[in-house]
Symmetry: C2
Subunit: 386 residues, 2 copies
């Protein structure tokens, strides 16, 4: 049964918090409204005088706002994009003011299903409204307004982060000078919905989930969440990467054990991925955020024509995909490029040759770093940033 008290998961790390939606609730795509709500965010670097050097980084499903922190307050590891973001890095915090906020529905400080519902005084659980990528972006927009920024120089992020980038560019084109959606898609595919559904069913099948009300039972559905993470993790890697990293090598033994312990290194690795995930992520948040990704279909919001989402846009786009990414494959990214071309947008597209699968966007991929650096350099010149 669940062994961790909910507060182990609910750690609110250091950083900035702002309470929004007090006067005017945040309208949600479902028709519901949310407010007040908290946005937890990190910033790096300094905003310049004309507020033209702000970069918003949007995080992936299990990411968070600690994009470039040297020490993550929960995991103790480096932030998830320190290779890309920092002093002298492609996203240079000596030149840019970088903002990253935990998404709406998340579990690292921004309001989500683990937080207290002001109407009941108890954690929301499944009483939290179902949210969308559009809702996440609408909540972020208010944060950006709160910071006094009219136009972001760049919005960028990978995976679900790329979905938010596209939503930003479509919904607030005037507020986005440049947009770089990395390893993303303009809609979630049937296969991806299917994998998410497996993860949700694994969580909901855990008796410790208690219909989403586990906080009131002093447990967490750790086994279900762990299985969900294991299944998802396979989709983040390529077959080639798994083969290279593990192949059929055995774990701490010379021969098969003829049992159900982790004989193979890949089993041991997956179990570790599952068991460490439950220490840092809330199960209900996983349900809500996967659902938001499933619901994302930018063309559907524009009469089924993706190019209409970008009609008349002045935003400069850089689309990046990775050749071995089968979760958000190059073909899905090309569809975005085609739509942008149809809208006569300024767009560049690069497929990075990598065998690391979807996870490549988080890893050391020098060609990707060069592409993004070049794009940013060109955009600074056009924008007139020193």
């Amino acid at each position: 049964m669940g062994t961790k008290a909910p507060e182990d998961v609910a750690i609110d790390g250091p950083g900035n918090r702002v309470v929004l939606g007090t006067d005017e609730k945040l309208p949600l795509d479902s028709g519901a409204a949310l407010g007040p709500y908290t946005i937890a965010y990190q910033t790096y670097g300094a905003l310049n005088a004309d507020k033209s050097n702000a970069i918003l980084i949007t995080h992936a499903l299990t990411g968070d706002q600690y994009v470039a922190d040297p020490v993550h307050p929960v995991t103790g590891k480096e932030g998830w994009w320190t290779m890309l973001v920092g002093p002298g890095k492609p996203i240079d915090t000596n030149r840019f003011f970088v903002i990253c906020s935990n998404v709406l529905g998340g579990c690292l400080g921004t309001t989500g299903p683990k937080d207290i519902d002001p109407e009941t005084g108890k954690p929301y659980g499944l009483a939290f409204p179902v949210i969308t990528i559009g809702d996440m972006v609408r909540a972020q927009k208010r944060l950006i307004e709160h910071l006094g920024i009219e136009q972001l120089f760049l919005v960028t992020g990978g995976s679900m982060g790329a979905m938010q980038v596209l939503e930003w560019a479509a919904r607030y084109p005037e507020a986005v000078f440049a947009a770089a959606p990395i390893a993303g898609a303009a809609r979630h595919s049937a296969q991806n919905i299917a994998f998410h559904e497996v993860g949700r069913q694994a969580i909901m099948a855990d008796p410790d989930w208690h219909g989403g009300d586990y906080f009131n039972h002093g447990v967490i559905p750790s086994r279900g969440l762990s299985v969900a993470r294991m299944a998802a993790h396979i989709t983040y890697l390529s077959e080639a990467a798994l083969h290279r990293k593990f192949g059929r090598r055995l774990q701490d033994r010379d021969q098969l054990a003829y049992g159900f312990d982790a004989d193979f290194q890949v089993e041991s690795y997956l179990r570790h991925q599952g068991s460490t995930f439950v220490d840092r992520f809330d199960a209900n948040a996983y349900l809500y955020i996967t659902r938001a990704m499933d619901y994302f279909d930018l063309a559907a919001e524009h009469d089924g024509d993706l190019s209409k989402a970008f009609a008349g846009t002045k935003t400069r786009f850089c689309i990046v995909s990775f050749s071995s990414d089968w979760l958000f494959p190059t073909s899905e990214n090309r569809e975005i490029v085609h739509a942008l071309n149809a809208a006569a947008a300024n767009v560049s597209f690069v497929e990075i040759d990598s065998d690391k699968g979807h996870d490549a966007f988080l890893l050391d991929e020098p060609e990707f770093f060069e592409v993004l650096s070049g794009f940013i350099k060109g955009c600074t010149q056009h924008r007139g940033i020193e």
Copy 2:
């Protein structure tokens, strides 16, 4: 919690049963021995006078011996390969004597973990020895000897069935005139081990699993087994097939419901796959059979050189893969072909162009049927069968 009594899963259908290993136990690759053990099998057609027209069909992970029955005794549906096996079909039961047996460790009549351990008088559960593809084939070999057949005209099967075909050809080359492994591999890949491990962890995470002892608690780990099946089922299909079948179409509704019910058809379909599977399959059998597949590595049994597995073979081989199969991709099948070529074996290889994924081997694929018909025709001429 589990709602089904174990006997719902443990249905022994009609058909043939033979008890083997009474005098001499079956030696297992683990070093253990099993006996007596029951093999449940179906036959179709008649054995000819010189016993030269026998075809052994080997089944996949969740398959069974009812390969060509018009009505499956548990599911009520047709047998799993009726398009291929029957009077006038590519595997013509008017001409051939077709045998299909439930694998060792299975749950449709052949001895497996749900059966009574004669030493304790209780169901084996996890006391059942871990078995391998080699053990399955060794058990089948005794059945074939029991039927008085010295040489099989053909051994064929898909997926895990293909693993058994390869093992038959490697272990008993004189007993196999022709071999047609379909959509298989000579070893289980790291990615495939990973997906199996997710399924096993889902089962073991279900409190109703009771350490494998669920029969003594009057429950079955139906939720865990259902999640395992859902995850596996995605891997049987291609992204293209999922997109064609379901896309992002909604289930019985016009718009998103903003909840966690099955909004999308693909979710409803997966849930159905999971919930019906638990009615026909034993959770422990799923653990044991997936483990047998993980352990399969035919080259490792021959000093790491797959061609040695087939040294001097006279068996005629036909290898078939399907272009969109990402579970047992063409590349894995080509490795078998390369090894057979290195062993100077008689081998033909065809990649069938299909967008149906791994499941294509069970579906209406006319080109595949023609390839197999042509291979069988050539082999009958060489073997001198009327």
